[in-house]
Symmetry: C2
Subunit: 340 residues, 2 copies
């Protein structure tokens, strides 16, 4: 029997969430996560002339606001880890040039949020860096014309199609005590359950979320009861149902403590789509809504499983199946200790 390869690292000393900031476009502001936004732009242009520049404006705004909320200067950050959905991750690259930080460019599609948090957490935990800043972004207009068709085509989409979230999230991780900490991280592997439909990414990604969740529990020796909330990134209505079914077949009943970022971001039944998607989706819901609920002691222990579909439009035209990945981060509310 093959040796099981470790995917989870449980931290001996917590790594803390010093601050997080989220910014978004107008439709996200109207949704239930809207009240947790640090800033929202009135329209998709975000004061710029192209969708691509608009996405950069979102990321830069999130980065700067996270620094301000943490009370940190540029030089307090030791590493920048970022990624986005645009070809060659240009949003992150063009944002990185505005800062003097060693830059770790990452890509795992919509799972990049938790990939970057996991990586910076491990680096802080090891003492390699003292403080790292993670950022992710996505933009409806930029993603739509790159991955699908010009919006002006007014193509009809199937009911399983998701809508790319316009927004960005930034989070600062460090060893300075704060209210929320990272307890453990699980790095996903690429899984492929033979799904081929790029307009049903939720059901393509659900198996990856399930496999990472199961491995997280196996590696930590915990049960689903140890968490107050299990959050998946952007599985949509269809993928969420499939995720819950896969869990139930395995004896994991989590319906009463489960949320999907994509189902949450616009409200449950947004205009003709099965939920939100995009690298910003899990970031907005986690850093906004979930962290707020944790700070107010509603939830103490949350597992955020961000999910990504690792295809591109050419692999779809070449009739390939869609590999997917999910990275999980356990966030814990730090209890006040005597003398603390």
């Amino acid at each position: 029997m093959m040796k099981k390869i470790r995917q989870t690292w449980v931290l001996e000393n917590p790594v803390y969430v010093e601050a997080a900031a989220i910014v978004a476009g107008p439709q996200e502001r109207e949704g239930p996560v809207g009240s947790y936004l640090d800033h929202s732009f009135k329209n998709l242009y975000c004061g710029e002339t192209t969708w691509e520049k608009a996405e950069r404006a979102l990321m830069k705004e999130a980065v700067d606001r996270s620094l301000k909320k943490a009370g940190r200067q540029t030089e307090d950050i030791d590493m920048f880890a970022a990624g986005d959905l645009l070809n060659q991750t240009v949003t992150s690259n063009y944002t990185a040039r505005d800062y003097p930080w060693p830059y770790m460019g990452l890509y795992s599609a919509c799972a990049t949020s938790m990939q970057s948090v996991a990586l910076l957490t491990l680096l802080v935990h090891s003492g390699i860096i003292k403080r790292g800043l993670s950022a992710v972004s996505s933009h409806y207009g930029a993603a739509e014309r790159q991955f699908r068709n010009p919006v002006e085509h007014v193509r009809q989409k199937p009911s399983t199609a998701m809508k790319t979230v316009t927004g960005a999230g930034a989070v600062i991780l460090s060893d300075s005590p704060a209210e929320i900490a990272v307890g453990s991280v699980t790095i996903g592997k690429a899984v492929d359950w033979d799904m081929k439909d790029p307009l049903d990414m939720g059901q393509a990604m659900a198996p990856a979320a399930y496999e990472t969740f199961r491995r997280h529990l196996e590696d930590t020796g915990r049960s689903e009861k140890d968490y107050d909330l299990i959050l998946t990134g952007d599985l949509s209505m269809f993928g969420s149902r499939q995720f819950l079914e896969l869990c139930e077949e395995d004896g994991l009943f989590i319906t009463d403590k489960y949320l999907d970022g994509g189902n949450t971001i616009f409200g449950y039944h947004p205009s003709g789509c099965a939920g939100g998607s995009g690298a910003a989706c899990s970031a907005l819901v986690t850093y906004g809504y979930v962290f707020h609920k944790m700070r107010s002691a509603h939830w103490k222990k949350v597992l955020c499983i961000a999910t990504g579909a690792l295809f591109n439009p050419l692999t779809v035209r070449q009739k390939e199946t869609i590999p997917c990945i999910a990275h999980a981060v356990e966030f814990i509310r730090v209890e006040e200790t005597a003398g603390g």
Copy 2:
């Protein structure tokens, strides 16, 4: 004055290069690096039906051969860190699904080779993983049609244009002693010196190589004399000259110990191009030629500075300048010790 942000990590205990493997296409085999290849394909198809599948065949071949050379099984690898130039790094994603490894998808264009080596080195050094496998790839046909124009257009290119290397390199890093070790790593930051020409990437990337080289020396307190070889990734004839000039303006005279991967891969004056480029370029020259020379004790200490241009075709059409990055890894030949 702003605090200087650390970019270099000098290892207290070395991390070793257990094995490396390189595979390539026919033109690379004809060049001076050809005799160090572990395998070469007779034509660009590499036994597949599309350029994109061919690139995957290259990466998979390099990964499998590196495992075999190290005498390792799949389950001995604790993490896979990979990246490539295709949109959404699909070569790496589709390769990752064939292995049961936690997957860290990376992107820093042609600097991804040393980005992944640097990252895995830090993770091994910290004890987070015991053994990591890095892979990068590029393919002339796949890159040409994605970044430029269909080859069938037979467009003339300026003399500064580079040719994408068809190949892949894989390297296994661990704490098991071997002949070559990593001594230090320098993570680059995104720099932008206002270059706009995507057909002169060498001169766009030269400042990034220079800045990373200078920071490496500053951070380590060393001089250029401490190295037997300074290797840049793929600066081309033009970028190499600019890199040397920038160094000389700074009092760093390295002409007698300097090599550029792009100038080396096809021979100094290949058919109508200024040198090789692509994520595989620095990997092939480093893991093939440089490691061979280190094993035969010709060089003892080499600094490999991989360089990447962080643009995409849309940012060029939108008249943006090209941010670039360079990541450096110091490789050292491990001397035999008494009793060792």
